[in-house]
């Protein structure tokens, strides 16, 4: 879907969320702790919510949200983010976007 492609290829970390989704919130917290300011798209506030959901599922995110993109590439959902982080592979990915200003 074009909209998804466009939004996901924005610079840095992009996360598709829903306002009611607490796991999405958890993922946001994690990136914040890693000193990254992700771009959040709350799709339930978007008129094309249904379409976006379908597109995300087609891309491989079973629950649609949270869907995390880094540098335009799909990282995955919560599971994937956690696995990456524990293996130490997440930080290198987001390093360009980490800000150490308080």
């Amino acid at each position: 879907m074009d909209k998804v492609m466009r939004m996901s290829s924005e610079k840095g970390v992009v996360i598709f969320t829903k306002s009611s989704c607490c796991l999405c919130y958890a993922v946001q917290i994690l990136f914040r702790d890693l000193r990254v300011q992700p771009t959040i798209h709350e799709i339930d506030n978007d008129p094309d919510c249904r379409e976006i959901e379908k597109a995300l599922v087609r891309l491989g995110c079973a629950n649609a949200v949270p869907a995390v993109f880094v540098s335009g590439k799909l990282v995955g959902s919560t599971n994937d983010v956690m696995s990456l982080h524990l293996s130490g592979s997440l930080v290198p990915l987001i390093k360009p976007y980490q800000s150490f200003l308080n």
């Binding site: 607490c22 919130y25 958890a26 917290i29 956690m82």
Partner: protein, 387 residues
């Protein structure tokens, strides 16, 4: 305390006393089996004394010894045989009286009654012993059940005696049984690891043991996932765990970073890079746990809001329930995510460590939980003892 048999004997005495009065005979001719003297409480002593006094002086107190200070627990049933061995003066006097046959018959009856009384007492004691063993056995079963997390009614919940809550579905019951087996297998694996690590073992055998141990943990996570779909509150509360394990509960299980902290000193021969990797793993774990915890807090907050939405006090709240139910669906995802974290931690440790180190680590981990379970049962036993 006096047994049923002795009561009968006393009853015999009483009837004899009455009969004697009726018969107007001056001879009592009654000698109690000597063993009687051992158990007598004071009131029965006076009964005895009375029966002898009725004989109008045919008896001299010194001739019959009724020791009151004899220890009540000298349960020697054999002393009854001594009855005839040392005949009392009274006995000798009686044998010269008018009714020797009656006396003999009475003596025989007494012996028989005493014998029956002893047999009854023996049966009673045996029954007590059996019941006592049964009780110990039941207590042990209860302990075992508690350890395995069966919710044995401690009065807090509306559960029935040997604890399945009315709310417990068959799926949860099945989970608990499966978990019991899981613990047994876990203990077996720990023993095996311990045995093997003490001796000479080749890497292939060790690797196979490590693989099995890992698979065993993965199996538990799968079991939990299935159970979470049935009753997520049950899993979140760690109901299948022992009390000490529940003390450390985080999202329905152990907290990976805490475990790493506890076990790190016990890993032997870690290379510097390994130490660094483990520390990084621990930090990543903590960050992931923190994120999940905050997500959970948000879930609690939104759930509370949903439940309290609208006018509190109207008495109707179906829309609130519907909304809250939707929110609760998310709880299952959190529990699954926490287990995923545990699984990933295990796998990363497996990657960082050598086979032998991993085997040692799994042994330490396994025994740590064994100790927690033992602590739970020791604590429970301690509380049952009177202060």
């Amino acid at each position: 305390m006096i047994s049923a048999g002795k009561v009968h004997l006393f009853e015999d005495l009483l009837t004899q006393k009455t009969r004697r009065r009726n018969m107007n005979t001056t001879s009592t001719h009654f000698v109690p089996p000597r063993r009687f003297e051992i158990y007598e409480p004071l009131n029965q002593m006076s009964m005895w004394e009375e029966s002898f006094k009725n004989n109008g002086g045919m008896y001299t107190p010194s001739s019959i010894t009724i020791p009151t200070n004899e220890k009540p627990d000298s349960l020697s049933e054999d002393t009854s045989h001594g009855t005839e061995g040392t005949p009392h003066k009274f006995d000798q006097e009686a044998s010269t009286s008018r009714h020797p046959d009656k006396i003999q018959r009475r003596l025989a009856q007494n012996r028989e009654a005493a014998r029956k009384s002893r047999l009854r007492k023996k049966a009673y004691v045996q029954q007590l012993e059996t019941s006592r063993l049964k009780l110990i056995h039941l207590e042990q079963e209860l302990d075992r059940a508690r350890q395995q997390g069966f919710y044995v009614g401690n009065g807090v919940d509306s559960t029935n005696a040997l604890g399945f809550s009315d709310n417990m579905s068959s799926g949860i019951v099945a989970f608990e049984m499966e978990y019991g087996h899981w613990v047994e297998e876990q203990n077996r694996q720990i023993c095996e690891l311990r045995r093997v690590l003490h001796g000479q073992v080749n890497d292939i055998e060790l690797r196979s043991l490590v693989e099995n141990a890992m698979k065993h943990y993965f199996q538990l996570f799968r079991m939990k996932s299935t159970a979470a779909k049935i009753d997520v509150f049950y899993i979140m509360s760690g109901m299948w765990k022992t009390s000490a394990e529940r003390f450390f509960l985080w999202m329905g299980g152990f907290k990976p970073s805490d475990l790493l902290k506890v076990l790190l000193p016990h890993f032997d021969l870690l290379a510097n890079q390994q130490i660094l990797d483990v520390c990084n793993l621990r930090q990543s774990c903590q960050q992931a746990e923190d994120a999940l915890s905050q997500g959970m807090e948000k879930l609690q907050h939104t759930l509370a809001e949903s439940v309290a939405a609208g006018k509190l006090g109207e008495g109707s709240y179906i829309p609130q329930m519907t909304c809250a139910m939707e929110r609760l669906e998310a709880l299952v995802s959190f529990v699954n995510q926490a287990d995923h974290l545990r699984l990933e931690t295990l796998q990363q440790m497996h990657r960082i460590l050598t086979t032998r180190q991993a085997a040692r680590g799994l042994l330490s981990l396994g025994e740590y939980f064994q100790r927690l379970r033992a602590l739970s049962s020791s604590w429970a036993t301690r509380q049952r003892e009177p202060t």
